[in-house]
Assembly symmetry: C2
Homo-oligomer: 282 residues x 2
């Protein structure tokens, strides 16, 4: 994801001065491609640019790169960090506070799209953080996005993103139940898919995931492990807010079953492996 | 529903000879409007027409009108029954067998649309039963439908219908969780709805139910009680087939909570009453 964002920004004429990855070899390969540096440490990354985009995998990684010793914030005064990972909204708030204390600024720019959209600059981006900070980096974000929206204060975009993925995951796990049961009942799944599309069963995930569920084509776009994590973020927010979300809890449990069965790196459509007859017996 | 189908058929020039309702007054009012009979007993209904359309509320009502003494089948030889209710596929099979034994024929014509579509002849109809029987009544069904599809043998259309409603109900209950949690988190629900529509959170029920959830506008199109019944049919099929459907079970449980709270006659969108802060404390 980060690599494609860097490629896109270079294509658009932005000076890409440095790239970083915990797998340093990956960073060196990309740096060679883009003609930029690949520093070995995070403070060097922050020193190399005015605007730093981060895309990490989870809450722990976000805290590590921002809050730990030897992280991005040593000598980062004046920088703007744009954080694209889907993490708990509270973590964005922690990071924003740490940035403010070090004289730098941060935004969350939550993406509701995937790797190909990063490459061609058509990401759907929801931004949380200060309006003034947003204006500073807006030209960079515009070149990454076909739909850019400043949602609100720090944490707000991450909340919206969690809710989008919560509903998307529910619809995906629900579709897997409908198609899986249909196959178990001996119905033609292609007919079933067509009828869902024409009726109250229609959804975005029907368009994106139904064929993959039928064909067991689970090359990863958005992993089952990420789906478990994102539904988990929403469910944590729900618990804290005292809202009952039994479907979202059932969805998280399904994705956690998939992860426990060693299938967490498959695409989220692989939740169908749990509902189609004769597939996954865990 | 049945009244609007009768009005539509009369508009299209079909001779509507008799109407029936357990609330006889309703039947008399409609009969006066259409200029037809309103017999007091079911055998008289069957005697009055070659093709009889039925729309009842549940399995028990279907069995009562077809299988009980004094039901439709006394002297019904040669008739074709077209049964439009959403009931268990097995009940359609029982009725078809009883019809065959009495020298008449039956079809299921499952509707994935509602009262207004019945009035203007734009129902989405999925038909299960014999091909030859289907051909006999196709001209009548064409005038009721903008999308008519012979799905397969007796019971098959009812299975497809159960799956459509199962997925629709999951998406509805899931949407209620996403919007309800968003409101609890202090997000602008209109903004949230717009973002869902543009991302992986989009669905047909977002188009049909989101505004009603926000406005608490639950005038009945498709009742919560019917949603509970239909998800229950799908869950019964899943149990019999050995397919695990945790989301559909959670959905049925939500609708049963709504029914238990005395809100079963509200529209299915009222499931939001269970997830929006400060609404329904059961």
């Amino acid at each position: 994801m980060g690599a494609n964002m860097a490629r896109r920004l270079k294509d658009c004429g932005h000076p890409v001065t440095a790239v970083f990855d915990v797998r340093l070899e990956e960073a060196h390969r990309l740096a060679a491609e883009l003609g930029c540096a690949a520093p070995a440490t995070l403070p060097e990354v922050a020193a190399a640019a005015d605007v730093i985009l981060t895309v990490v995998s989870d809450d722990a990684a976000m805290r590590r790169i921002f809050l730990d010793e030897g992280g991005l914030l040593a000598g980062a005064a004046g920088r703007v960090f744009v954080n694209c990972a889907t993490v708990n909204p509270g973590v964005h708030e922690e990071v924003a506070a740490a940035c403010a204390a070090r004289g730098c600024e941060s935004l969350e720019a939550c993406m509701a799209s995937s790797i190909t959209q990063a490459r061609d600059g058509s990401l759907y981006l929801m931004v949380g953080g200060g309006e003034e900070t947003f204006r500073k980096v807006e030209p960079v974000l515009r070149d990454l996005s076909k739909s850019l929206r400043h949602v609100g204060a720090t944490g707000e975009a991450a909340k919206v993103k969690a809710l989008v993925n919560m509903v998307m995951n529910i619809n995906t796990a629900g579709l897997a139940e409908g198609l899986g049961l249909g196959v178990a009942l001996g119905l033609d799944p292609t007919m079933l898919k067509e009828i869902f599309a024409q009726t109250g069963g229609n959804s975005r995930v029907l368009e994106t995931d139904a064929d993959d569920m039928l064909a067991r084509e689970h090359e990863c776009w958005f992993s089952a492990a990420h789906a478990a994590k994102d539904s988990g973020i929403a469910n944590d927010l729900a618990r804290a807010a005292g809202v009952r979300v039994p479907l979202s809890e059932a969805t998280e449990a399904q994705y956690r079953r998939l992860v426990a069965a060693g299938r967490g790196e498959l695409d989220k459509s692989a939740v169908a492996e749990l509902t189609f007859p004769g597939r996954c017996e865990d």
